[in-house]
């Protein structure tokens, strides 16, 4: 009986992971990578506001993930990536759009 329940749970978990596509942890990884790239390009000096926005959203994403509010974590990760890109863009352009 226990084995059956366990196998059902594992199957359900795998199918859920497959259906959702990108997982929260993957979003968080991507956000962290984008933030790292922004830092390496010097955005923390040349575009401090944009870089800090990205950093703040990444922090929120991590907090949300730790509170099991995965939707918020994904949304915040997306925002973080968006702001990291803005920071990189501003760093290389030198002016605000």
């Amino acid at each position: 009986m226990r084995k059956i329940i366990l196998s059902i749970l594992i199957f359900a978990g795998i199918s859920f992971a497959q259906s959702s596509g990108i997982t929260t942890s993957e979003y968080l990884d991507q956000a962290r990578d984008a933030l790292k790239k922004a830092y390496e390009s010097g955005a923390h000096v040349k575009a401090p506001y944009e870089y800090s926005k990205a950093s703040a959203y990444y922090s929120i994403a991590k907090e949300s993930a730790s509170n099991f509010s995965l939707d918020n974590a994904v949304e915040a990760s997306k925002k973080s990536i968006e702001w990291s890109l803005k920071a990189i863009e501003k760093t290389f352009k030198g002016v605000e759009k």
């Binding site: 401090p48 506001y49 929120i60 509170n67 509010s69 918020n72």
Partner: protein, 306 residues
């Protein structure tokens, strides 16, 4: 076993009820107004990191735990009387169709049970206090706070030389005495009026050339910041033409500078104008370049309140 199960259920139920009953209500309006106020005081420029953190947490809190902004629209449409099967229904039956953006409510109150509702306002207040501290801070140690430096158009991270008080004429001492600040200043001074402020004009014209506008903007900013300073603008001409006409032209030149400063937000009663005309030449009027140099409007500081 059954007793334990029932006890567990009761405990969990009581926890749920108590937690649901004590929902936290946070009024975001105050935080938002504080952020707006700091934004107007160049908080974003003086303290970009802390400002960004405060703004992000506030955005997230306003979103009720969800990130991103939400916009609401109202659709108003009026329908005419017409048959359901009428051809061209959309064109003929819709009388008017209007989409308007819904105005935001003045008081934004958030009622949430999550921990974020409690922790975020604390974080926002913490970051806002840091922003406020940085706005009034003097990073470069020149005695001018950050927000004032940005208003003046100088770099808050590079030290500027402090203003020398004795360069101005104090009220009550020698009010009538006019000192051309131009002659006694140095290049590194922060005060734009301590720099040679001269606006030159084309022949027989009183309109300000475009290249002088940025400098006049700095002067206007300075005057807006220092409400105790009054200036006198004196217009001059070259030696060509009759005296009466040149006096009027000189007055017009001073007036056009005054008008620009007034347009930039300086109170008109703080700007006094005078037209000197064919007098007090800077250089001789031998050639066109010299005459251009003499066709000018100059600034003089006339009073500073204590």
């Amino acid at each position: 076993m059954r007793k334990l199960f029932i006890c567990g259920c009761l405990i969990s139920l009581s926890f749920g009820v108590s937690f649901a009953g004590n929902s936290v209500v946070v009024d975001v309006t105050e935080l938002q107004s504080k952020l707006d106020r700091l934004s107007q005081m160049y908080g974003k420029e003086c303290s970009p990191q802390e400002f960004a953190y405060a703004e992000t947490y506030l955005e997230t809190l306003k979103g009720g735990g969800k990130t991103g902004s939400k916009e609401e629209y109202i659709i108003e449409s009026k329908l005419k009387e017409c048959g359901p099967l009428e051809i061209g229904y959309v064109k003929t039956c819709i009388d008017s169709y209007k989409v308007t953006k819904k105005e935001e409510k003045k008081n934004i109150v958030i009622r949430e049970n999550s921990v974020d509702t409690i922790s975020y306002p604390v974080k926002i207040n913490y970051y806002l206090s840091l922003v406020e501290k940085n706005i009034y801070s003097d990073k470069d140690g020149d005695g001018i706070p950050c927000y004032k430096e940005i208003e003046m158009g100088t770099n808050p991270d590079i030290a500027d030389k402090k203003e020398e008080k004795n360069q101005f004429v104090a009220v009550g001492e020698k009010k009538e005495e006019k000192q051309p600040v131009v002659a006694e200043t140095k290049e590194e001074d922060v005060n734009p009026l301590n720099q040679p402020v001269r606006v030159h004009f084309y022949f027989n014209r009183a309109d300000i050339k475009k290249e002088y506008l940025p400098y006049l903007n700095v002067v206007a900013k300075f005057l807006k910041m220092h409400r105790d300073v009054k200036v006198k603008i004196v217009g001059y001409t070259d030696n060509i033409g009759p005296k009466g006409y040149n006096d009027k032209l000189a007055m017009k030149r001073a007036l056009s500078v005054k008008k620009y400063l007034t347009k930039m937000g300086v109170e008109p009663d703080r700007v006094v104008i005078e037209g000197i005309g064919k007098d007090r030449y800077l250089v001789s009027n031998d050639n066109s370049v010299d005459r251009f140099t003499n066709r000018r409007a100059e600034f003089y500081v006339i009073s500073i309140a204590d």
